[in-house]
Amino acid sequence: MFSNFFSFASPQAFYPVAGRMIPWFGWSAALLALAGLYIGFFVAPTDATQGESYRIIFIHVPAAWMSMFIYLVMALWAGLGLVLNTRLSGMMASALAPTGAMFTFVALWSGALWGKPTWGTYWVWDARLTSELILLFLYLGYMALKEAIEDPQRADRAGAILALVGVVNIPIIYFSVQWWNTLHQGASVSLTKAPSMAMTMLAGMLVMALAAWMYAIAVSLARVRAIILERERGRDMAWVRSMVNA
């Protein structure tokens, strides 16, 4: 079973498999997003305290969840690549980083636009928003490091070390920012302080989170295919030709 499993760990074997999986994940993402938006805008009731502006939650919270989840998955692939020395793992980690950074940006942007009608200001130095900003910096540092190192094997390994250090640091950073926040702001505003969240609101959020998850898988599989082609070009031109012409 394991030999079977590891045969997919070869980039050349994974390339066509990824290609077949992309439409499934892509269409699930689209359908789930439609369902989630329908629930979010037409089924979920108006919030008693925030009015209609709370509907940003259906993009904000899934994006924030995905931004953290993708960093974890990225660190997992990076660590696997470091320990097992499989080439595909490093490529997966590379493919995930831009998607994670995109979701982090979306979470920050929607958070700012939610803050304005809710708290009267675009930016609050709230523990969550601040941690999310630092998470964006971590993604940018990871991508900059991988970009700067020319040898892909070395870039993968160096990036893996950074991702692992980052993943240990994220809880510490979150804790420290929360500590700092309580010190400086007294009672801080909390983003998800919905006293009684209606079931339909929660359902819309979960469906949207699922859609974001499926999208992240589809787009990073597509990106890993491009990375495989780019990297195999220097190693196995005959294989690349057979894939491009297929």
Partner: protein, 222 residues
Amino acid sequence: MTAAFAAVLRRDLLVALRRKGDALNVLIFFVIVASLFPLGTGAEPGQLRTMAAGVIWVGALLAALLSLPRLFAADLADGTLEQMLVSAQPLPAVVAAKVAAHWLSTGLPLALIAPVLGLQYGLPSDALLVLLGAVLLGTPVLSLVGAAGAALTLGVRGAGVLTGLLVLPLCVPALVFGAGALTASLSGLAPGPHLSLLGALLAVSLPLGLWAACAALRVALD
């Protein structure tokens, strides 16, 4: 292992002593940064006092960052680093010695001069002590995280700015707890919890930073 640690530590300190200018420049940079802030914000005493912690900590962070390229780059250029990697001495001991030497030649002077800058900002004497303690506890964290960052970017083009990009976000906890100790002391609260957290952070950074720096050096010189 202790022999390797001691030997590398002595060698690096000797190198630092012969090139006093490098360490001195870092200190001067720190003093200049901290002295520019009041010129930009105005020198109202109450405002200066609330700013002091942040300015001094960010200044120390930037100064430590400037000194990082020296950590491994010179040894890489003359081949010493490669010898250290292939030698029988355990790499963590060698890296720990280099980090210790870096702290002694930059972190410690930064910590010693920080209270003087605190005077510029009108801090009371007990706050100056807290500042000294916090910077003493916090700068080793900067050296450790910085060593990992310097090792990751070793020999990479644009290494200087890139190191900052990698290291600065990871230093947020040190900044929060370090500056927090001073702020707490100024507002009449006990700085103890902040200093304890800073110590805990150091305890976490020690194995993590050494591991990352060693692994990154092996990758860089593979």
